[in-house]
C-alpha cells in the first residue's frame, strides 16, 4: 500500500456500506444475457402444460385422453388417477392444508389444474390440451366468504368426517365446513370494555380487495431426473430453493442429497414464487416417467388466474379514544377469503401472518384481533405481495382507522398521528398484540416529512380548492394522502418462526481466495433486489476486501448453505446479518494471522478499513490481501490453513423499518381521473447499505402500491369467472402512469442487527397503498366521505363523487 493513498481513499476503494455502488447484475440484465428458467434448454427436453377447468366449482364425471394421445408429439397425459398410486395427486400446502395437484373428482376454482399434457414441444402440448375431453357437472359457486360460511354447500368434502362432523384443522377448531381457522391475538374482554366506555369510538368496515403480485416472469420449472445416478435436478422460479428441496424430498420420497434445486435469475417474485405449485410436481413426475427433462412455464393468464393471489381481507374495526384524541383501544375482525385451498405462505404459527402488527405505529394500550379463514371457489394463495406476511393489510387497516377516527374527532389526521405515536424513549416497545418493536423515532420522521412538503400550506391550498369547487370555479379536487407505517420484517426468530417445521434462520458461507478475492454464498435468492451488489458491500466493510473482488452466489442448493429464501424483506435482516457475522469470523482469524506476521500479540493489532495495524503504530500493518495470501502459504503455529467461515444466523428479534409518506393528488370529479402531483417518501430502514438500491426499491414498491390502490385487482363474477386474467384488465402500471417520487430518509439503526440494517424492499408498498388511498379519500372528506374501498379506479372514484352528490 503506497503512502499517498489516504484512509478516505482506502474506504472508497472498498465500495462498502453506504456507497451507491452500481448493480453488478445489470450488465447481464440490460444486455439480455440473464439466465431465466425459460432460457434453460436441455437435450431431449419435453414440455408439459395443463388442461384447466373453465368452471369455478364442478364435479368431474370423466376425463377422456384418447384423442389427445393421438395428437402428433403428445407423449402422455397425466390425471389424478395416474398420480394417486404415487400419493402425489394431492400435496401439502405451506399453511398446513393440502391441495389437489390434479383435480381429484372435482374442481374448486376456475383455472384449476385438471390434467397435465406432456409433449415434444409447446405447440404439441397446446394442441393436446385442446383434445382432452373433460365432462364436468357444474356445482353452485361460492365466491363470497360470508355466504360460504352460511352455505350448506360443502366445498371440501375431504375435510368433513363421514359422520358429518368437522374435524379441527391445522390451526385449531373449525366452525363450519367451509371455515378454515379462527386465530386471535390480544385481550378480547378488556378491549371490548375499553371501547364500550370510551369517550369517542369510530367504527368502520373495509375490504382490502384481492390482487396479485404479477411478476414480469411467470412461474415455471425444468425437472430433470437422471435415472443413472438417481439424482433429480429442479430448476425453477423459487423464492426459497432450499425449502422447495425439502418439500420435494418429503413428498416424493427421494432423499434430499439426491435432489438439487436451482433458482437461476428470477424476474421478480413479490411473494408469488414462494409456494409450491402443481406444475412443479407434475414436471417432476413427468421427468421420472419419461426419463427426460420436462419444462413447464406458465403463460400470463395462468399466472394471474391460478398462482398465488394476495390480500382479499374483509376487515371490521373499532377504535376508541379520549375526546382529545388519545387512542385507548383497537379491535379488528377479519374474514379472510383463502379460495379453494389454504395455500397461504406464512410462518406456521401465524395463519394470518403478522396481521397482529395492526396497532401500527401508535401507542395503543389495549387491542384485540380475530381472523377467520374461509374457503371459497377462488384460486388459492394468500401470499405477501411485496410485504412481510399480511403487513400490508394491517397497515392499511390502521391507517384507514386513524383517518376515520380523525373524522369522528373532527381533527387533523396528521396531528392525531403525532399525539399517538410510540415515543422514541418507549423503545423497545411491546405492543398490545405482542410484538416487541426494536427501535424507532417516529416524531422526527413525521416532522421532517410534514415540513418538507409544507403540510400547512397544502391544507390551506386544499381549503381554497374546496371553496372554488363549491363556487363552481373548478371541477378538480385536491387530496392530501398521509401514511405512517411500521413494518415487521426479517422473519424470523426460530423460537416463533418456522415454515413446515424449518426454522427461519439464514446463512452465509465465505471463502477467501489466496489472492485476496472471495466468494460468498447465501441461503437467500435475489429476484431483482441486487443481492450480488449489496451483500458484497457488507462484506467489503466487514473484511476489508473490495466489493468488486467478492462474488456473491445464491440459489443452488448443492453449493449454497441452507436458508429459507427471500421474501418478507428478510434477506438483509437475516442473511445480511449472517453475512456480517461470517465476515467477523474471517476477521477474527485474520487478526491472528496479522499478529503472527507482525510479530506482536493478537490484542496488539486492530482492524482499520482494509488492514490490521499495530496499535499506536499505523505504519506497521498487513493488508487483508496480504493476510489472505499468508493464510494459504505460511505454516502458522496453532492456526489451520485457509480462510473460510460460515454463519447460520437466528435473529433475536424482527426488525421494524418505518416511514412517513405524503401524496398530493388532483382528482377530476367528472371522470374519476387522478393525477399525482407529488409523492414524498421518507424511509427509515436503519443502516443504509446502498442508497441507490434503496431508492430503486422505494420506487418499485411505490409503483406497485399505486397499482393496488388505483386499480389493480383480481375480480370474479358471480359464477367464479376471473374477470381480470390479462394485462388489458389487470392494471400493471407503466412509466406512463407513474409519477416522480421524492425519496428521503432518517436512520435509526436496529439495536440487535449486527450492522443495524432493517430491510427496505417492501416498506414502500406497505406504506404506499394507504397513502394513495388516503389521498383519494381525503379529497372527498370535505363532502362527507368517510371510507370507500379500493381500488380507486376511474369509475369507482366517479361513483364516490356521484354518491356524494357532486354531479349535476
Amino acid at each position: 500500500m503506497k503512502d499517498e493513498v489516504t484512509r478516505e481513499e482506502r474506504i472508497d476503494n472498498l465500495k462498502g456500506m453506504g456507497c451507491s455502488r452500481k448493480r453488478v447484475e445489470d450488465a447481464r440484465f440490460t444486455q439480455g444475457k440473464g439466465n431465466y428458467v425459460d432460457d434453460i434448454k436441455l437435450d431431449g427436453m419435453l414440455f408439459g402444460d395443463f388442461v384447466r377447468s373453465p368452471y369455478a366449482h364442478a364435479r368431474i364425471k370423466s376425463i377422456d385422453t384418447a384423442a389427445a394421445l393421438k395428437v402428433p408429439g403428445v407423449l402422455a397425459v397425466l390425471t389424478a388417477a395416474d398420480l394417486e398410486p404415487l400419493g402425489l395427486h394431492w400435496m401439502p400446502t405451506l399453511a398446513g392444508d393440502k391441495q389437489m395437484v390434479l383435480a381429484d373428482g372435482k374442481v374448486l376454482f376456475q383455472g384449476q389444474e385438471v390434467a397435465y399434457v406432456v409433449a415434444e414441444d409447446r405447440y404439441a402440448a397446446a394442441d393436446g390440451i385442446e383434445a382432452v375431453e373433460v365432462d364436468y357437472e357444474e356445482l353452485t359457486v361460492l365466491v363470497n366468504p360470508f355466504e360460504s360460511l352460511q352455505s350448506d354447500i360443502i366445498l371440501r368434502e375431504d375435510l368433513v368426517a363421514e359422520d358429518g362432523s368437522i374435524p379441527a384443522g391445522a390451526h385449531g377448531p373449525r366452525k363450519h365446513h367451509n371455515h378454515i381457522f379462527t386465530w386471535d391475538a390480544g385481550d378480547k374482554l378488556p378491549t371490548e370494555e375499553v371501547i364500550a366506555n370510551a369517550e369517542v369510538v369510530a367504527e368502520e368496515s373495509m375490504y382490502y380487495h384481492r390482487t396479485h403480485p404479477c411478476p414480469l416472469e411467470t412461474c415455471g420449472c425444468v425437472a430433470s431426473m437422471d435415472k443413472v445416478n438417481g439424482k433429480l435436478t429442479l430448476w425453477g422460479t423459487f423464492q426459497a430453493p432450499h425449502a422447495i428441496r425439502t418439500v420435494v424430498s418429503l413428498i416424493s420420497g427421494i432423499e434430499e442429497h439426491n435432489i438439487r434445486v436451482v433458482s437461476p435469475d428470477i424476474g421478480g417474485g413479490f411473494g408469488n414464487k414462494v409456494g409450491a405449485y402443481p406444475g412443479y410436481v407434475c414436471s417432476v413426475v413427468a421427468s421420472i416417467v419419461t426419463g427426460k427433462p420436462v419444462k413447464w412455464i406458465e403463460d400470463r393468464m395462468d399466472n394471474l388466474m391460478t398462482t398465488a393471489f394476495a390480500r382479499d381481507y374483509h376487515m371490521t374495526g373499532k377504535i376508541s379514544a379520549t375526546k382529545d384524541g388519545k387512542i385507548t383501544g383497537l379491535k379488528c375482525h377479519v374474514t379472510a377469503d383463502h379460495g379453494g385451498f389454504d395455500a397461504c405462505a406464512d410462518p406456521t404459527k401465524f395463519p394470518a401472518g403478522f396481521m397482529n402488527i395492526c396497532t401500527g405505529s401508535y401507542d395503543i394500550p389495549t387491542a384485540y384481533l380475530e381472523v377467520d379463514g374461509v374457503y371459497t371457489n377462488k384460486a388459492p394463495g394468500g401470499v405477501s405481495y411485496r410485504c412481510s406476511f399480511r403487513v400490508t393489510e394491517a397497515v392499511y387497516f390502521i391507517e384507514r382507522m386513524i383517518e376515520v377516527l380523525a373524522i369522528e374527532l373532527n381533527m387533523d389526521s396528521a396531528e392525531l398521528r403525532r399525539i399517538n405515536f410510540i415515543k422514541k424513549e418507549q423503545f423497545p416497545y411491546t405492543a398490545a398484540l405482542g410484538w416487541e418493536y426494536d427501535s424507532g423515532d417516529y416524531h422526527t420522521a413525521w416532522d421532517k416529512a410534514l415540513k418538507t412538503v409544507d403540510y400547512d400550506g397544502l391544507r390551506a391550498e386544499q381549503t381554497k380548492r374546496v371553496e372554488d369547487f363549491k363556487a363552481g370555479k373548478t371541477r378538480t379536487l385536491m387530496g392530501i394522502g398521509l401514511s405512517f407505517f411500521t413494518e415487521i420484517v426479517g422473519a424470523g426468530p426460530v423460537k416463533n418462526c418456522d415454515i413446515l417445521g424449518l426454522g427461519m434462520f439464514d446463512s452465509c458461507e465465505i471463502r477467501i481466495h489466496p489472492t485476496g478475492s472471495a466468494i460468498a454464498r447465501l441461503g437467500t435468492i435475489s429476484q431483482g433486489q441486487g443481492h450480488a451488489t449489496t451483500f458484497a458491500q457488507i462484506l467489503a466493510s466487514e473484511i476489508g476486501l473490495p466489493a468488486d473482488s467478492i462474488t456473491v452466489e445464491e440459489g443452488d442448493t448443492d453449493t449454497a448453505p441452507y436458508g429459507l429464501g427471500t421474501y418478507g424483506s428478510r434477506s438483509t435482516p437475516v442473511a445480511g446479518a449472517a453475512t456480517a457475522m461470517a465476515g467477523r469470523k474471517i476477521r477474527a482469524k485474520a487478526q491472528m494471522i496479522a499478529a503472527y506476521l507482525l510479530e506482536v500479540h493478537d490484542n496488539d493489532v486492530e482492524f482499520d478499513v482494509d488492514r490490521f495495524i499495530v496499535k499506536g503504530a499505523p505504519e506497521k500493518f498487513k493488508t487483508m490481501k496480504e493476510i489472505a495470501f499468508a493464510a494459504y502459504n505460511q505454516a502458522i503455529p496453532g492456526i489451520e490453513p485457509g480462510l473460510e467461515a460460515v454463519s447460520y444466523y437466528d435473529p433475536p428479534n424482527m426488525t421494524y423499518p418505518f416511514g412517513a409518506y405524503v401524496c398530493v393528488m388532483d382528482i377530476d370529479v367528472d371522470t374519476g381521473v387522478t393525477e399525482i402531483r407529488r409523492f414524498y417518501a421518507l424511509d427509515d430502514c436503519g443502516t443504509r447499505i446502498n442508497p441507490m438500491i434503496i431508492e430503486g426499491q422505494v420506487h418499485g414498491g411505490l409503483t406497485e402500491a399505486l397499482a393496488v390502490a388505483l386499480g389493480q385487482e383480481i375480480a370474479y363474477d358471480d359464477m367464479g369467472n376471473c374477470k381480470t386474467g390479462t394485462l388489458m384488465d389487470f392494471f400493471l402500471p407503466t412509466a406512463w402512469e407513474v409519477p416522480n417520487y421524492e425519496t428521503d430518509f432518517t436512520v435509526t439503526p436496529s439495536p440487535h442487527h449486527p450492522i443495524g440494517a432493517k430491510g427496505v424492499g417492501e416498506s414502500p408498498h406497505v406504506g404506499g397503498v394507504p397513502c394513495f388511498s388516503n389521498a383519494v379519500q381525503d379529497a372527498f372528506r370535505p363532502f362527507g366521505n368517510r371510507h370507500t374501498n379500493m381500488p380507486h379506479d376511474h369509475w369507482r372514484i366517479w361513483k364516490m363523487a356521484n354518491e356524494l352528490g357532486l354531479h349535476d
Partner: protein, 284 residues
C-alpha cells in the same frame, strides 16, 4: 397462449392474395400489423388455418396529399402517421389520435388499415374516419369500390367489407376549422373508456359545421349527426353544448365492462365530448 397450427403466406402482390383467398375461402384471412388478429389466434378465439401476411404486397404504404384530400395506404402504421409532418400539417387530428392508440411498440406494427377494417368497436381510427367523412377503398377480385366510413360498420367485427375484399386505402377530405380527439383510458395501451372525435368550423363567430363521432360506446363507432347539428348556428354556449351531448347520448349504447357501468360511461362520454368540442372550438 399458443395458436393452433396454421399455414403462413406472404404473397408479393394482390393477385397472389386473391388466389389464396379464393382457394381457402373462410379458412383464410389477411393480416396487416397483426396486433389484433395474432392475440386472438393465440387465445384460440380466432381459428385461421391460412394466414395471409400483407407486408410484401406493394402499393399500400404511401401517404398522398393533394389539394382537397389525403390518401393513406392501408399498411401505413400509426408510427408513420405520427412521424409524417406533412400529413400532420394538413390533418392534425390524425396525429393527435394516433398518439393515443396503444403504446409506441404496438404503433410501430399496428396499421391504419388493420385498425379500420377489423371492426373492433374499441379501435380509435373508425370513429375518427367517420368524423372526417373518410372513404374506404375496397379491392376485390371483381375490382375496386369505395364505401363511406359512416356506412361501413354494421356490428362488432361485422363491416361492409366482403370476405374476399381487401381494404387498401382511406381517402380523407381536408377539413378547415378546429379539431380534437379526446380519449379517456385506464392506462397506456388500453381501449377507450370513452373517446370523441370532433371537427368544427366557425363562421362569423358561430358554428358553421360540426362532425362528431364516438369510440367504444356501442358495438360500432358512432357518428352522431344530431350531436353535430345541435352545435350549428350557435356560439357553443352551455345550452348548445348540453344539447349536443344529449343528442350524442341518444345515439350511443355502451355496455358494462371492467372500465365501469353504463351510467359511468355515459357520464364520461358527455364530459369527453364536451371537452373535445371546447378544444376543437378553441382551435378554430
Amino acid at each position: 397462449m399458443i395458436p393452433a397450427a396454421f399455414e403462413y403466406y406472404r404473397p408479393q402482390d394482390m393477385a397472389g392474395v386473391f388466389a389464396i383467398l379464393q382457394e381457402h375461402g373462410d379458412d383464410a384471412r389477411v393480416m396487416a400489423g397483426g396486433h389484433s388478429l395474432i392475440p386472438m389466434m393465440k387465445l384460440r378465439m380466432a381459428d385461421v388455418p391460412h394466414l395471409i401476411d400483407l407486408q410484401d404486397v406493394g402499393g399500400m404504404s404511401d401517404v398522398t396529399i393533394v389539394s382537397h384530400e389525403v390518401r393513406i395506404g392501408a399498411m401505413v402504421t400509426q408510427a408513420d402517421i405520427i412521424d409524417n409532418t406533412e400529413l400532420t400539417a394538413v390533418v392534425p387530428i390524425l396525429r393527435e389520435a394516433a398518439l393515443q392508440i396503444a403504446d409506441p411498440q404496438v404503433r410501430y406494427m399496428g396499421t391504419v388499415g388493420g385498425n379500420i377494417a377489423n371492426g373492433d368497436p374499441g379501435n380509435d381510427m373508425p370513429g375518427l374516419m367517420q368524423c372526417m367523412d373518410a372513404t374506404f377503398t375496397l379491392v376485390g377480385p371483381n375490382g375496386e369500390r369505395g364505401v363511406q366510413a359512416r356506412d361501413f360498420y354494421e356490428a362488432a367485427y361485422i363491416t361492409a367489407r366482403e370476405d374476399d375484399e381487401i381494404l387498401t386505402a382511406v381517402t380523407i377530405p381536408l377539413h378547415s376549422g378546429g379539431y380534437a380527439y379526446e380519449k379517456q383510458k385506464r392506462k397506456i395501451g388500453d381501449y377507450a373508456t370513452a373517446a370523441a372525435a370532433v371537427q368544427i368550423t366557425k363562421d362569423n363567430g358561430s358554428c358553421a359545421s360540426a362532425a362528431i363521432a364516438m369510440t367504444n360506446l356501442s358495438d360500432t363507432p358512432v357518428y352522431s349527426e344530431a350531436a353535430g347539428v345541435a352545435l350549428v348556428g350557435g356560439t357553443l354556449d352551455d345550452t348548445s353544448l348540453k344539447a349536443s351531448v344529449a343528442a350524442m347520448l341518444n345515439d350511443i349504447d355502451p355496455t358494462e365492462d371492467n372500465r365501469g357501468p353504463i351510467a359511468f360511461k355515459k357520464h364520461v362520454a358527455g364530459v369527453i365530448l364536451r371537452r373535445a368540442i371546447e378544444r376543437a372550438w378553441s382551435r378554430t
